[in-house]
């Protein structure tokens, strides 16, 4: 064991950022060195650990955030944890987003719980950018919109799109993204969200922008051993499966064969 990377992280804060959503702030020097887009693989009572991206990263204080929606047994258990309890985490894992080019326009497109890693990216890099990044947040229901205030605190007014129209504008993230692309050349797009959304973002931006997508896939080990978490990518001789946990979660849109 050259380097013990299985961490015990103290929960130091717990908030409810939206209906059915919880954010835990954990203390760990190692995790707080994460790059936006990387993830924590968290022990819960089920057979498998649960992958959750970092919603915020504060290396100065050794803190990082895990923001998740309660969708099943593991996230339910996580949502019931309290301040003072300790999580067993592997991480930070995977490859995160690259730093954006400061001179080029930058859009962050997040759907549902795809927003947190994009906030982490904005938090880290927004001030390095020549122009304020465009942030487009989509959610199925208005009450599920997360991190709007956090972006505002960075001086960014996110564009909110909801399927039910109960918050922001009705519709999905694609329409505002398309308008933005029309007016920005050499654009950089970072996106995270449900697979159909990412596939649409990929199609829309191919050839028009440099696009990075943070993917989700069912995982086993989380560290590259089991080959469970694959996505089809372009290989030397046709399709080739790469691992979301190791080569990803962040892929360039061109790499994917989706």
């Amino acid at each position: 064991m050259e380097d013990e990377q299985r961490l015990r992280c103290l929960i130091v804060a717990r908030t409810l950022p939206a209906q059915g959503h919880v954010e835990l702030i954990v203390e760990s020097q190692e995790l707080s060195r994460a790059i936006p887009g990387q993830f924590a693989h968290i022990l819960t009572p089920g057979m498998l650990r649960r992958p959750i991206s970092f919603s915020r990263i504060d290396p100065g204080h050794g803190l990082s955030g895990l923001l998740f929606q309660v969708v099943g047994s593991g996230t339910k258990w996580l949502a019931e944890r309290s301040i003072g309890e300790v999580l067993d985490v592997l991480g930070p894992l995977g490859h995160g987003f690259p730093a954006p080019d400061p001179r080029k326009p930058w859009a962050l497109v997040g759907g549902g719980v795809g927003v947190p890693p994009l906030y982490a990216a904005a938090e880290k890099w927004a001030q390095t950018q020549a122009h304020t990044p465009e942030v487009i947040i989509g959610a199925r229901r208005g009450v599920w919109v997360v991190m709007e205030n956090d972006f505002q605190d960075l001086g960014i007014e996110p564009r909110i799109m909801t399927d039910d129209g109960s918050k922001g504008e009705p519709g999905n993230v694609l329409h505002p993204l398309s308008l933005w692309l029309d007016t920005h050349v050499q654009a950089q797009v970072y996106a995270c969200g449900p697979t159909p959304m990412l596939q649409a973002v990929r199609r829309m931006t191919l050839g028009r922008a440099t696009t990075y997508l943070a993917l989700e896939q069912r995982m086993g080990c989380g560290i590259g051993a089991c080959l469970a978490c694959v996505v089809p990518t372009v290989g030397d001789c046709g399709m080739y499966y790469q691992r979301v946990c190791t080569e990803g979660p962040v892929f360039r849109a061109e790499e994917l064969m989706w």
Binding site: L43, M47, L48, Q217, R218, G220, A225, C226
Partner: protein
């Protein structure tokens, strides 16, 4: 307490706990989390003569105390393994077992031949749960004649210790095991995953991209123990037991049922360091149950007629 295990053809393990194939990758992946040198052995992910693509995702699905997988044996092929991973594994004082796969008897023969006389390869584990393309998808491990043919082909190509891995998805595992023994295998490893399926009720379709998958984890421990216990009475060669091991007590169950060593798979996803902990705790747990050596434990629950000595 001395935990050494002596297996056929001079294969000596420092302790009876081996990392199971497919859950430990090719070695490097877990090296940050696991003390590889302290393991009795490592069975690498199945390797074929040429790279295999594997099945479409999703490839894993959680079930009650179990895991369904349909990786589909994705692997970079034997050459990539030899170049990239074998040098890494050679650095550790553990026994490297190469799990080999093929779609035809000929492919098994090829990969076995390629691995013979290679420094750092200590044994072969023949995975006969692969779909047999000549027989329309039914696996080699589900028919005694085919199990015999694959085993014999590998045996002919190698001086390495050979273990053949039983499929639990058969009416009579003992008959397959006897065919494997008759074909010249040195050991049997048991069991591979149990065929299963889950439905994603949101998507209204089977949860796995490959439709059916293999069930592993604690859920299958009783099935694995049944097969080890039965097969231990039907063959004389040593058995490497596995299926759902989580703790040193589970290791005792497998050894008492007749296994000479064990492999540990799925639990590693939850607790990467669990194998090391099991090895560390084993002497104390054995003493707590009144044992002072592994040979006393092995086969202790078998009917008096089939003592471990007779079986070796």
């Amino acid at each position: 307490m001395d935990l050494h295990v002596e297996l056929p053809r001079g294969l000596t393990l420092s302790n009876p706990v081996i990392a199971a194939s497919g859950t430990f990758g090719f070695g490097p992946e877990y090296s940050q989390y696991v003390d590889i040198g302290a393991l009795g052995g490592v069975s690498v992910k199945g390797v074929s003569p040429e790279p295999w693509t594997g099945n479409p995702p999703p490839r894993v699905w959680e079930t009650p105390m179990g895991l369904l997988n349909s990786i589909g044996l994705q692997n970079p092929g034997v050459e990539a393994f030899i170049e990239k991973d074998l040098p890494f594994l050679r650095r550790y004082p553990t026994k490297v077992i190469v799990n080999i796969i093929g779609h035809t008897v000929e492919e098994y023969r090829q990969v076995a031949a390629r691995l013979n006389h290679l420094a750092g390869v200590h044994a072969l584990e023949v995975n006969i749960s692969c779909p047999n393309i000549k027989q329309g998808g039914m696996s080699f491990g589900q028919d005694p004649d085919q199990a015999f043919a694959v085993t014999r082909a590998v045996r002919d190509e190698t001086e390495l210790p050979v273990m053949v891995k039983l499929s639990p998805n058969v009416t009579s595992p003992g008959i397959i095991a006897q065919a494997i023994e008759a074909a010249g295998a040195d050991m049997i490893s048991a069991i591979n995953t149990v065929l299963g399926l889950a439905i994603d009720i949101n998507l209204r379709r089977p949860a796995l991209g490959g439709i059916t998958g293999g069930l592993s984890g604690p859920a299958i421990k009783p099935v694995a123990l049944r097969i080890v216990y039965e097969v231990a009475q039907q063959v004389k060669i040593p058995i490497i037991g596995m299926g759902g091991i989580q703790a040193p007590e589970d290791v005792l169950e497998f050894l008492m049922a007749g296994a000479s060593a064990v492999m540990v798979g799925t639990i590693t996803f939850q607790h990467p360091d669990r194998m090391n902990h099991i090895i560390d705790q084993l002497p104390e747990v054995m003493e707590g149950h009144g044992f002072s050596s592994l040979t006393e434990v092995i086969g202790a629950a078998l009917p008096a007629a089939s003592t471990p000595l007779e079986r070796r």
